[in-house]
Amino acid sequence: MSEQQAYEPKIVAFLCKWCSSAGSDLAGVSRIQYPANATPITVPCTGAISPMYIMSAFNKGADGVLVSGCHIGDCHYIEGNYLARRKMHLIMELIEFIGVEPNRFRMSWVSAAEGGKFAKVITDFVNDLQPLGPQDKLKKAEHS
C-alpha cells in the first residue's frame, strides 16, 4: 500500500433479516454504490447478537463492527432491538474502557425501505474508520 492510499478498514456488519438486510438488498436493487469494506452477516434479529460476537470480531481483526436493525418500535419480534440497544450500549462503554476507540463500534437503524440510508451508514463508517488505521488493541497477535 502506498503512503497516499487511505487505509481500507475491515468491517463486520451484523444485519437483522427483516429490516437492515432487506434495506441493504434495496440499496442493491437501487444500485446505490458504497465501499466494499463491510461484510454482512445476516441474523434473525439484532436481539440475537451476543456481545461476544462483537468482541470476537475485534479479536479476529475487525477494524470496525456494525450492528444494524429495525427502527426502535418496529422490531419484527416486538422487542429484540430494545434488548440489543441495551447490550450494545454496554459494549460501547466496555471497548472505550479497554482503550479501543468507541468509533470502531456502531449501531444503526435501517428499515427495509431505507436503501439509501444503508449505503450512507456504511460510507460514513468507512470514512470515520480510515483515519483510525488498523485496530490492534483487541486483535489476537497471531490469529490462525
Binding site: A27, T42, P44, S56, K60
Partner: protein
C-alpha cells in the same frame, strides 16, 4: 461430527454478478475449503438447466449440503431448497450467499467486489457445515380471514373470500363502510355514478352469510403468525342499536349540537347524532361521543326522548372483541395531502380553494349542495374554475416525490362534470404532463379538451390570492412561454394521495413494513405485489400505493385469491429454525425466560424448556445466555463465530 460434502454453485446472473465479481475466482476459492466437495459456475443458476445441474451434481457427487452464491435469499432460497429436496437431501442444508444485492450491484471495483464475494461465500460455506437437517413443523390453520378497511378494496376482498365459503370479518373504523369511493360523484372514464356502483356491493357484503361486519371498530393488537393470528378489535360505542334504529331522522332534528361534517369534507355541518350518508351501512345513526353534550339525560337527552324505536342507549361502552383468523388483508386506503403544506396556494385558508374530494361532494347529488356546483363562500355558481394538477406530487424537494397516478384522470373528469353542471362556465387545467395510461383513459382526456372546451395550460401555478372577490391565479404556460393570470371563482387542487391517517400505527400493530413514502410495503415490487413481508398478511388498494378503482378491485381480488389459497390448506409448515436448549449447559438461571418476547420459554425442574408452538426463532434468548446453553437451530453461536472468522480471513 463428520465433515460435510458441500456443493458450491456460483451464479453469474448474466452479467449482473459476473460484471463486477470474478465468479471463476469465487468458485476456485470455495473449492479450497475443506468441506467443499464440488463447485460449479453457471450463467443463470435459477434457469431450468441451471436447477437441473444442481440436482444432478448433488446426486452424482453424493453431496449432503448446498451453497448457492447468487441473489438475495428472498428471491431464490425456496427455489434451491426445493431442488435440494428433489435431489434427495434435506432442504435445510441448503443456504444462499447473497453476492448480488449485497455485493455485485453496489460495488464497481471488481477486485474489491470479488474479495467481498469470497468472504460472503466462505462465511456461508462455514455456516452450512454445521447446519442440521430438519423437518418443517406442521401447524393447523384457522379457516377464517379478516379484512381491515371497508372501502372498495376491503369490500371486494371480503366478498371474494366470502364467496369461496371462507368466513371473513370486515373491520371498518368509520360508522359506515364505503370508504373514499362512496364519497365520489362519478367515476372515470365511464362517468357512471360511484354510489350506484357501490351501494349494491355494500348491501351484498352486509347480507353475505359468510361476512361479519364490524363498523366503528379498530384493530388494536395482532399476535400469532401466518395461519393463526389472534386479533383484538375495539368496538367503539355508537350509542344507537342498529337493529332497532329506523333511520327516521327524528333525533337529528332535536339535537342541539352542530359540528362540521367530516363525511362532506366540512362543506356542511351535522348534528352530534348523525348518519354519514343516506345509504350508510349499517343503516343506523351514530352518536358522536366527543360532540354530544354528555350522554346524560339530565344534561340533554333530547334524542333519546324522541326516539320511538328506543334505539338510543347512553350506557353502551367500548368493547374489545378477540377474533382468531388465519389470514389478514390490509385495505386501509388513502388521504389527501394536507393543503396546509401549500401556503403559496392559500394553505387551506382561502374558502373557495377546494381539494379534489370536496369537489366530488359538490358534484354529488347526495352532497352538501344537493348536486349543484356552488362555491362555498356565497353559494353562487362559479363561472371560471381553475383546476391545478400535481399539487404536492412529483416534488421531491418540498413534498411527495411520487406521481399520485389518478389526478390527471380525475381532473379531466372534474372539468367535464363542471361543464355539465355549468355549461356556460370556463374550465382551466394547469398540468405538468398528462399521464392517461389505462383503457379508454387517453380518449377521455382528449374529449375533455376537445368536446368540453377545457383549456389545458402546461405549467405550474406559483401563487393564489384573494383579489376583488375573486381568486387570482398566477401561473405559467410553458408552451407559449407566457405568464398567465386568471381571476377565478373557484380553484380545485388535485392534491397528492398519501397513506391514510393511522397507516403508521396499523403497520406497527400488524408488524408489516412501509415504503419510503409511508405506504404499506409489498414483499416484492414485481413478483409479490399483494403480499406484505409478513406471511399471511396481504395488501389491497391505495394502502399499498396510489391507484385507481379498477386496479384496486383487481388487487383486492388477487389478495383474496392468496387468502383462499392459504386457507385451503389443511396444515401449514412453519420454520423449524427455533430455539433449542442444551440441557447439560443450562443452569436454570432464567435469563432466557425474561428475554423471550413470546413467553415461549419456561423453567422445568431447573432447566429451560422451549415451547415449540410459540417460539419464533428470534434468538433473543441465545444472546442473553451466559453459558451458550440455548441456540437457534442452524443459526447457532458456533456457526456465527465461524462466519465472523470467514469474514475477516484475508
Amino acid at each position: 461430527m463428520t465433515k460435510k460434502r458441500t456443493g458450491v454453485f456460483v451464479c453469474h446472473c448474466g452479467t449482473n454478478i459476473a460484471a463486477t465479481v470474478d465468479v471463476a475466482k469465487v468458485a476456485r476459492e470455495m473449492a479450497g475449503e475443506s468441506t467443499v466437495a464440488f463447485t460449479q459456475e453457471y450463467v443463470y443458476m435459477c434457469s431450468e438447466p441451471g436447477q437441473e445441474s444442481v440436482v444432478q451434481a448433488i446426486k452424482d457427487n453424493k453431496l449432503d449440503s448446498v451453497v448457492v452464491t447468487c441473489c438475495s435469499p428472498n428471491l431464490h432460497e425456496k427455489t434451491f431448497r426445493d431442488n435440494a429436496q428433489r435431489a434427495g437431501i434435506n432442504n435445510f442444508t441448503c443456504e444462499i450467499a447473497n453476492i448480488r444485492e449485497q455485493c455485485s450491484w453496489v460495488h464497481k471495483d471488481k477486485a474489491k467486489g470479488t474479495e467481498k464475494a469470497i468472504k460472503i461465500s466462505r462465511s456461508v460455506v462455514r455456516r452450512v457445515n454445521r447446519n442440521q437437517p430438519m423437518d418443517a413443523i406442521a401447524v393447523n390453520v384457522t379457516r377464517r380471514a379478516m379484512v381491515i378497511g371497508g372501502g372498495i378494496a376491503g369490500i371486494q376482498a371480503a366478498l371474494d373470500i366470502g364467496n369461496s365459503g371462507i368466513e371473513v370479518i370486515l373491520v371498518e373504523k368509520q360508522a359506515t363502510i364505503g370508504g373514499r369511493m362512496l364519497q365520489l360523484s362519478e367515476t372515470f372514464p365511464t362517468l357512471d355514478c360511484a354510489q350506484c356502483v357501490m351501494s349494491p356491493k355494500m348491501v351484498e357484503v352486509k347480507r353475505h352469510p359468510k361476512v361479519k361486519l364490524m363498523t366503528y371498530s379498530e384493530v388494536q393488537e395482532v399476535t400469532g403468525s401466518v395461519g393463526n393470528f389472534r386479533v383484538k378489535v375495539l368496538k367503539k360505542p355508537t350509542y344507537v342499536d342498529p337493529d332497532k334504529c329506523k333511520i327516521c331522522d327524528h333525533c337529528t332534528v332535536v339535537c342541539p349540537v352542530v359540528v362540521p361534517n367530516e363525511y362532506e369534507l366540512n362543506l356542511n355541518a351535522r348534528r352530534a347524532i348523525y348518519i354519514p350518508y343516506a345509504q350508510a351501512i349499517p343503516a343506523s345513526f351514530t352518536l358522536d361521543e366527543s360532540a354530544c353534550l354528555g350522554l346524560n339525560p339530565v344534561v340533554c337527552g333530547k334524542c333519546k326522548d324522541v326516539c320511538e324505536a328506543g334505539a338510543i342507549n347512553y350506557d353502551m361502552r367500548p368493547e374489545t372483541v378477540v377474533e382468531d383468523v388465519g389470514a389478514i388483508v390490509v385495505a386501509t386506503g388513502f388521504d389527501l395531502y394536507d393543503q396546509g403544506n401549500m401556503p403559496e396556494l392559500g394553505g387551506g385558508k382561502i374558502e373557495d380553494v377546494l381539494d379534489g374530494m370536496q369537489f366530488e361532494r359538490l358534484c354529488s347529488a347526495s352532497g352538501a349542495t344537493g348536486g349543484h356546483v356552488l362555491r362555498p363562500s356565497d353559494h353562487k355558481e362559479p363561472k371560471d374554475v381553475v383546476f391545478i394538477q400535481c399539487v404536492g406530487s412529483r416534488d421531491p424537494a418540498k413534498h411527495c416525490a411520487y406521481c399520485s397516478k389518478i389526478c390527471c384522470m380525475y381532473t379531466a373528469k372534474h372539468a367535464r362534470l363542471y361543464k355539465k353542471h355549468v355549461p356556460d362556465g370556463r374550465a382551466y387545467v394547469f398540468y405538468i404532463d398528462i399521464r392517461s395510461g389505462g383503457k379508454g383513459y387517453e380518449e377521455f382526456v382528449q374529449r375533455t379538451m376537445e368536446d368540453d372546451d377545457t383549456l389545458y395550460l402546461r405549467g405550474r401555478v406559483s401563487k393564489l390570492y384573494r383579489h376583488n372577490g375573486k381568486i387570482r391565479v398566477l401561473g405559467t404556460d410553458t408552451l407559449s412561454g407566457q405568464n398567465v393570470e386568471i381571476d377565478a371563482d373557484m380553484v380545485v387542487l388535485a392534491l397528492a394521495m398519501v397513506p391514510s391517517k393511522g397507516t403508521a400505527e396499523a403497520a406497527k400493530v400488524l408488524k408489516i413494513g412501509r415504503d419510503k413514502d409511508g405506504f404499506m410495503a409489498e414483499a416484492h415490487p414485481k413478483l409479490r405485489p399483494v403480499e406484505s413481508v409478513t406471511g399471511g398478511i396481504y395488501l389491497a388498494g391505495a394502502a399499498q400505493a396510489p391507484k385507481d378503482i379498477p386496479e384496486t378491485v383487481a388487487q383486492a381480488g388477487a389478495a383474496a385469491a392468496k387468502v383462499i389459497a392459504l386457507l385451503s390448506q389443511a396444515t401449514l409448515s412453519r420454520s423449524p429454525l427455533i430455539a433449542k436448549v442444551r440441557r447439560s449447559h443450562c443452569t436454570g438461571c432464567g435469563m432466557c425466560v425474561e428475554a423471550c418476547p413470546f413467553i415461549a420459554i419456561r423453567l422445568e425442574s431447573g432447566k429451560a424448556v422451549v415451547n415449540e408452538a410459540l417460539c419464533e426463532g428470534c434468538g433473543s434468548c441465545s444472546a442473553t445466555c451466559l453459558r451458550a446453553a440455548i441456540d437457534v437451530k442452524n443459526v447457532t453461536q458456533l456457526q456465527i463465530y465461524e462466519m465472523i472468522e470467514a469474514c475477516l480471513a484475508v
